[in-house]
């Protein structure tokens, strides 16, 4: 039986059809003949039937030998041994009860993920607050979308990554891509850039000449290559030119925004020549780009992690929004601002209660009416719902500390690869009394766990995802899960039962979704009008989708989501000392992604075709810089700073600036780029600094060499 579902990886959620290869083969068995399902692309607005290399090979992992098929518990010798589900769950429940009794409910923490289905993400938040009674829950979306989310909420009163269907981009004449390498991270996306390319209007801002930047070659647009960490100043310069040259959409700004005067004052000091001296982008380019954007009838400004994963990421995203608002883009047909959500359910995952300050429906956990509504649906007293917890970095910083978290449950996250300053995170994990990891492979984080609970993969489960457009879609099973693996909904149900919780934890995804509808009703992310039957009918479902409505493909046509209906222009400025200036012998480390790998690589490094193409981390360095440092192509190097050292090979390329080095963050152990990244965070979003850390690169002299 073929199943129509969507890709397990990124937020584009390309549609695919999975057909079991041989119904006779018992599910989950290791079959040398190949994966148990075949993958075919399916027509859908985001991918139009196409898939990228990751999507095509996604089924490889279903029956891979590395798949976990029984719970693991660390034995007296310190090695992980298979056990039964009852034994594992009893152990976890016992330990949690003990830790809670001794240290209080907040001694138990939960770390979620942006890849979990809406149902799992929702139930995980409920589990933390009701079954565990802890406020200590946050998730890896803190590393992805938090800056853009904070900026969107501040400006628009709502955070839906793309407030319009992706296909709207097709007709654009100018698209400004800020810090996003879609050609590698979500390749089928680039089909939607063709219109702008044909109009010569694809503008890519990236310190690297990425595959996406190359899409601007041959007169199809412009690649702007600022020094890493200077995006905010570049945007302030663009805004300065738009204001100084009277390119502002005055009626729009007057009717639909507030804050114009303060914004105008704040950019008066960022004339293009001054911007040039900070960013390395010629003043003439700043002017030309501002004019191009203003002259375009159909223009879009889109941000990605490149500009958001900074200690000033919220302000940088805010500056991008300010630019779009001054040009009158948001809410005008054929133009707009958006942020490109990365993880598969990065959108839905940030709406339904995995965030430390949030309740389902994108409600604020501190808002008494929100608490009352959620408590009513959950059948509890509002007092029983804990208050706000700690954002990811603070949560991880508290591991094993006095009054900190002593037991951590991890779902859908490989946090010792994806967190900043991972050496510190590892030390925190070592201080824990209990680490429980739900995963389907032995990820670097699972390998450190006291208990590993094997869970299902995408092709084995039902649920919903919300893609980068805010479109709710169905995930459907194509085959039965392997014996020994369990749905996380079932695991939460069983643990809640063992912990004596009287709250409801359904194991059927559709039942969980029905509850999610009720809880989200009246919230910002209102799903109350959506059900499985509607989604199965093929109807498009963009939230907010209140009961009785037909959803909201396009936001902001008439008003923004603040009470007065106006968007906020928020004046922002670079903070002095936000990041240290590089000394002459330091390079700026930019971390990012490769086509072949997804996130921490826990999945894609186990797919032979993907691993063969990119088997290890390579530090990309400009040949001129390499010559100065005495490094030849393919030679082993050390990339180091006070936090740690990465050992890998060098790749010489003129695609990178001479003052920077690039490392993909998909690899573990001594190749983990996040050994070098700082856990300093944005003061508003708590986003860490992933994109501009200072390092020294040296040739690695191997032992025995040079004798």
């Amino acid at each position: 039986m073929a199943a129509d579902t969507h890709c397990p990886y990124c937020a584009l959620q390309c549609a695919m059809t999975l057909t079991p290869t041989d119904a006779a083969t018992p599910p989950g068995t290791t079959d040398a003949a190949g994966p148990p399902v075949t993958v075919a692309g399916r027509d859908f607005p985001t991918n139009r039937g196409g898939l990228c290399k990751k999507g095509w090979t996604s089924a490889e992992l279903l029956a891979a030998p590395s798949r976990l098929t029984a719970p693991l518990v660390r034995d007296a010798d310190g090695s992980l041994q298979e056990t039964t589900w009852d034994a594992a769950l009893d152990l976890v429940a016992d330990r949690l009860r003990g830790i809670r009794a001794q240290h209080g409910a907040d001694a138990v923490g939960v770390f979620g993920g942006g890849g979990l289905t809406n149902e799992k993400a929702y139930l995980l938040g409920k589990f933390a607050r009701l079954a565990l009674g802890t406020s200590r829950i946050d998730y890896n979306g803190r590393y992805c979308m938090s800056s853009a989310a904070a900026a969107g909420n501040r400006a628009f009163g709502i955070d839906r990554g793309l407030p319009f269907p992706l296909t709207d981009l097709d007709d654009a004449t100018t698209i400004l891509l800020l810090g996003t390498n879609v050609a590698e991270t979500m390749p089928p996306f680039i089909g939607h850039l063709a219109g702008a390319q044909a109009a010569g209007g694809l503008v890519v801002v990236d310190p690297r000449r990425t595959a996406t930047a190359r899409l601007t070659d041959d007169g199809r647009g412009l690649h702007v290559q600022p020094a890493p960490g200077t995006d905010l100043v570049l945007l302030l310069g663009l805004i300065h030119v738009v204001i100084a040259e009277r390119l502002v959409d005055e009626p729009y700004v007057a009717d639909r925004t507030t804050g114009h005067a303060a914004l105008r004052r704040s950019v008066a000091q960022w004339w293009p020549e001054r911007v040039q001296s900070v960013t390395g982008v010629p003043a003439a380019t700043v002017r030309a780009l501002a004019r191009r954007l203003a002259a375009s009838e159909r223009a879009y400004v889109l941000t990605g992690r490149g500009v958001e994963q900074h200690v000033d990421g919220t302000d940088t995203a805010t500056a991008a929004i300010n630019l779009a608002l001054l040009l009158g883009l948001p809410g005008r047909p054929g133009s707009g601002y958006g942020t490109l959500t990365g993880q598969g359910n990065g959108q839905g995952g940030r709406e339904h209660g995995q965030k430390c300050d949030q309740l389902p429906g994108y409600r604020k956990i501190t808002d008494p009416s929100a608490r009352a509504h959620v408590a009513r649906v959950w059948g509890v007293d509002p007092e029983e719902i804990p208050g706000p917890g700690l954002p990811a970095i603070e949560l991880l910083g508290s591991l094993g500390r006095p009054d900190g978290v002593r037991a951590l449950l991890v779902h859908g996250s490989n946090l010792v690869v994806s967190s900043p300053n991972v050496a510190e995170v590892r030390r925190g994990i070592e201080r824990l009394d209990l680490l429980v990891v739900c995963d389907f492979v032995r990820s670097e984080t699972a390998a450190l766990a006291d208990v590993v609970l094997p869970v299902l993969q995408w092709a084995e489960e039902a649920g919903t995802m919300t893609n980068l457009e805010g479109r709710v879609i169905r995930r459907r099973p194509a085959l039965a899960p392997p014996e020994g693996a369990r749905d996380e909904l079932w695991i939460l149900h069983e643990l809640a039962r063992r912990l004596g919780s009287t709250a409801r934890f359904d194991t059927d995804p559709e039942q969980v979704f029905e509850e999610l509808r009720l809880v989200s009703e009246g919230g910002i992310a209102d799903y109350s009008g959506i059900d499985y039957a509607l989604l199965d009918s093929g109807a498009e479902a963009f939230w907010p989708f209140p009961r009785g409505s037909s959803g909201t493909p396009r936001l902001f046509a008439d008003r923004f989501h603040h009470d007065d209906g106006l968007a906020r222009l928020v004046a922002v400025a670079p903070r002095t000392g936000a990041r240290p200036a590089p000394s002459p012998d330091e390079l700026t480390l930019v971390t990012g992604r490769l086509l072949e790998h997804y996130q921490s690589g826990a999945q894609t490094r186990r797919v032979p075709e993907l691993l063969d193409a990119q088997p290890d981390a390579r530090a990309a360095i400009h040949p001129a810089t390499a010559a100065r440092l005495g490094i030849a192509d393919d030679e082993p190097v050390e990339v180091a700073n006070e936090r740690g050292t990465v050992r890998c090979r060098a790749r010489l390329t003129t695609d990178i600036r001479t003052d920077a080095v690039f490392l993909p963050f998909h690899y573990g152990d001594e190749q983990a780029a996040n050994l070098l990244t700082s856990d300093a965070v944005d003061p508003i979003s708590s986003m860490p600094e992933f994109k501009a850390n200072l390092v020294r690169v040296t040739r690695l002299v191997e032992a025995g060499a040079g004798s």
Binding site: G41, G50, L51, C52, K53, R214, A227, Q269, Q276, V281
Partner: protein, 545 residues
């Protein structure tokens, strides 16, 4: 706790920044701030006055001050009120309104005024102590009256005079070829005025550029339609009498007898700090008000100066004894802003945590400023320079054995770069007509980074070969065709060799074209090329072209 009373004299961009930074302390009640603004308008960014003068910017877009917020925080902002005297004995600032403002600290941010050169036909009053004491009403906090048709370009009134001429497409004579003069000349010419630049040096921007850069710049300016008259010292002004009886500018007469006729003469001969309050108060002045690295006057621990009027000189036994002091105010906004931030922070710290000994003001001092980078703000002429660029590649200077010079000159195409390094680190450069190169050099200079051994790498940023692969062979074996699936030309050719001769077949075999589909045309090209070469070389043997 009584608040620290601070009086700020001057409300330009540096003064406005000082106010902004001090507001938290004002709001908390630790500081009582009064701003004596002088000009009757909100603080604006003077860097943009030339843009305003040619109609490229509105006043709105230039405003940096926020009087409403400052007043809401509790500061008093007195627009259009001038300070006429600092009475240091009484510790009171006297105002043009007759009032007096008692202070604990007074900060001079009076900026600078345009220099008026010695020209027959233009009065040029001195501002020494004797003159100031005789004519305080006309000389203190006031600029000189210039004849009709003659203007500097410093404030909004000046800019409006220029704007009238630009709008009327009249003939504008710019005296001086420094950065500000050239910016105005280029902007005015761009806006349609007829412009002539007269200067006495051998080439424009002589303080910043070497001969090569200067000559390339002159060619670039001339190509915009501006007349440039070099080697000409201005001597006198000729007047004509309008129908309404006003005597106004008619021509500039140079020492060698040239008569340059025009409707408006713009003086762009540099600026001088507005020192007169300090002079009258008996404070040490040189070019500007002399302050230490802590921005405190050498003569009075309660008086400070920031921005264009401040001359920072560290007081040592050696400097204290000198009659002529080194340095001068930079005249640039960046250092002024940093001074404003630093001093505001120091005052805030002092006011919120008073020292036990009742000591005076900030400790320590600002780090020394790096030599400022000069950039010409102009639409079609790109000039960036910093440092001493007078050395030539062939110089053999025993005094600078580690200095090296690299140079690229292409006057025909208006491109020029000179890079001066010491031990590989940039100490100065001049760039004309090479914007990307200049931008990269700017960053390298700021970071004191070593230049690549192959200096020509920096030139190539502005060349068509900037991206080595852009012009490269799109059919090179390792060129990527399908980004979604990472499929190269070689992989498609291999597939074709195995009999996959259509885009669909190749897609099934390699997945090329099965993502966004944008590369299907290129796959067809690769296949067509493979088919053609296959036909020519049936045995597949490599051929020598």
């Amino acid at each position: 706790m009584t608040p620290l009373r601070i009086v700020l004299i001057g409300y330009g961009p540096v003064g406005a920044r000082f106010v902004e930074e001090l507001l938290p302390a004002v709001r908390s009640g630790a500081v009582a701030l009064t701003v004596v603004a002088g000009e009757p308008v909100e603080a604006y960014n003077r860097v943009l006055v030339a843009e305003y003068a040619v109609g490229n910017a509105d006043l709105d877009a230039m405003l940096v001050g926020d009087r409403d917020t400052a007043e809401a925080a509790g500061a008093a902002v007195m627009l259009g009120v001038r300070a006429t005297r600092i009475d240091r004995d009484a510790r009171v600032v006297r105002l043009s309104t007759g009032e007096g403002l008692p202070y604990d600290r007074v900060v001079l941010a009076t900026g600078s005024r345009a220099n008026v050169p010695t020209l027959d036909g233009v009065d040029r009053p001195r501002r020494d102590l004797a003159a100031l004491e005789r004519h305080p009403a006309t000389l203190v906090a006031r600029d000189d009256e210039l004849p009709a048709g003659v203007t500097a370009l410093r404030d909004l009134d000046d800019a409006r005079r220029v704007l009238d001429a630009v709008r009327g497409r009249r003939r504008i004579v710019v005296l001086g070829a420094g950065v500000l003069g050239l910016e105005l000349a280029l902007a005015a010419a761009h806006a349609g005025a007829q412009v002539c630049v007269v200067h006495h040096g051998p080439h424009p921007m002589p303080r910043n550029l070497d001969r090569g850069a200067g000559h390339v710049l002159r060619s670039a300016i001339r190509r915009t339609g501006i007349t440039v008259i070099a080697h000409s010292r201005a001597e006198a002004i000729g007047f004509r009498t309008d129908d309404d009886g006003t005597r106004r500018f008619d021509m500039l007469v140079t020492a060698d007898g040239k008569q340059v006729r025009g409707d408006l003469l713009v003086l762009s001969c540099g600026v001088s700090p507005r020192n007169e309050l300090a002079t009258l108060a008996g404070l040490r002045t040189a070019t500007g008000v002399v302050v230490g690295p802590d921005l405190r006057s050498w003569s009075d621990p309660d008086v400070f100066a920031i921005g264009d009027c401040a001359q920072v000189v560290e007081r040592t036994e050696e400097t204290a004894g000198r009659r002529v002091l080194p340095g001068a105010p930079s005249g640039l906004i960046g250092p002024g802003w940093r001074q404003a931030e630093w001093l505001a922070a120091a005052f805030a710290a002092e006011a919120t945590a008073p020292q036990e000994d009742g000591g005076h003001g900030p400790e320590g001092g600002l780090p020394e400023e790096r030599e400022p980078i000069v950039m010409l703000k102009a639409e079609h002429v790109d000039v960036v320079a910093v440092g001493d660029v007078s050395a030539d590649p062939w110089d053999d200077d025993a005094l600078a054995p580690r200095r090296r010079v690299a140079q690229w000159a292409d006057p025909e195409h208006l491109r020029y770069v000179k890079m001066v390094t010491e031990d590989g680190v940039l100490t100065g450069f001049a760039s004309v007509g090479m914007p990307r190169t200049a931008a990269e050099l700017t960053l390298l200079f700021e970071r004191r980074a070593e230049l690549p051994a192959d200096r020509s790498l920096l030139l190539r940023f502005d060349g068509p070969d900037d991206d080595p692969s852009a012009g490269a062979d799109a059919f090179a074996p390792d060129a990527t065709v399908c980004w979604c699936n990472g499929v190269t030309v070689a992989r498609i050719e291999d597939s074709a060799a195995c009999g996959n001769t259509t885009v669909e077949c190749v897609g099934r075999d390699t997945r090329a074209g099965t993502g966004c589909g944008g590369c299907r045309g290129r796959i067809a090209d690769v296949l067509a090329r493979a088919a053609a070469s296959g036909a020519e070389e049936p045995d597949g043997a490599p051929s020598l072209a």
